[in-house]
Symmetry: C2
């Protein structure tokens, strides 16, 4: 069995926002999240990954993050206003999401825990959209309609209780 | 002050690997991390973000993750062998990184904690490469040579002890 894994949680109260092609220079992330903090918007997952290039040779990155559904519209508005100053390409809002998380301890040192979670989802043809990990939580964003099924099959796959 | 924030940690023993343009269909993530687990490779951060499109209309995503430096070469080899089966574009290895993390509790519900960390780095012209967050940890990947300075300025910015 998997001693480090203790439970699985489903959160269907989040919306995902991405600011695409943020010029990859110091200060942009600070400006974006500083503005959101000013408006008292709590951010859950922040995901910034690989660099990509714009047509005019400016290195850039996409910054994606989640907020509660109630804050989605305001967040999108704030980011739209910030777009010219940041120099990013556009804002994408996706409310059709659910976040399913494996909860435990010391999961990082355990090869195979993440793979097992991803396999359980794959076997049900559930596409994994976003992934973040920490020692205590592995979170996958899936389509909202697949949230409940994702919860159930991870539950079964790891023989777990709910969180 | 910031009661949810307790310390800052620097990890200079990681390397970053990305598999770019992984076709965005169920089972790819499971295959990649299943293979790494089989080889007993421990993965720390896994970051999968926004969808992008290939020239031939196949939706894809970049999957980036970190492993210990000792595992970097083997990981790259494994992924290179997996490339045709996955159908991804290429593998990028970046060993010139340091991971600096703000450690605390309940940080998610605290707008401004992440923004403050990003600002501290921005003020020193330290570019933030990758970002992941959880309730207990906000991690930024920066260039390896900037790791120590990043640790120090976050330390000062939050008036903290080390982890
Ligand atoms: C893209 C954005 O994160 C930028 N690298 C910054 O440091 O603010
Ligand atoms: C890209 C990859 O994560 C894919 N979406 C999967 O579910 O495996």
């Amino acid at each position: 069995n998997h001693p480090p894994v203790r439970g699985v949680a489903l959160d269907t109260n989040q919306a995902q926002i991405a600011m695409r092609h943020v010029p990859d220079y110091p200060g942009r992330a600070a400006k974006i999240f500083g503005k959101l903090a000013q408006e008292n918007i709590s951010v859950d997952m922040i995901i910034q990954s690989q660099r990509s290039r714009l047509m005019d040779q400016i290195p850039s990155r996409d910054i994606a993050f989640t907020v509660s559904r109630n804050d989605a519209e305001l967040t999108e508005k704030i980011l739209q206003n910030l777009l010219p100053e940041i120099g990013a390409q556009d804002i994408l809002l996706d409310e059709d999401i659910a976040k399913v998380s494996l909860v435990g301890a010391g999961m990082v040192g355990n090869p195979g825990v993440a793979a097992k979670m991803f396999s359980a989802l794959a076997q049900q043809q559930i596409n994994i959209q976003m992934i973040t990990t920490s020692e205590i939580k592995i979170s996958c964003v899936v389509a909202k309609s697949q949230g409940e099924r994702a919860l159930q099959i991870i539950h079964e796959g790891f023989d777990l209780g709910n969180y």
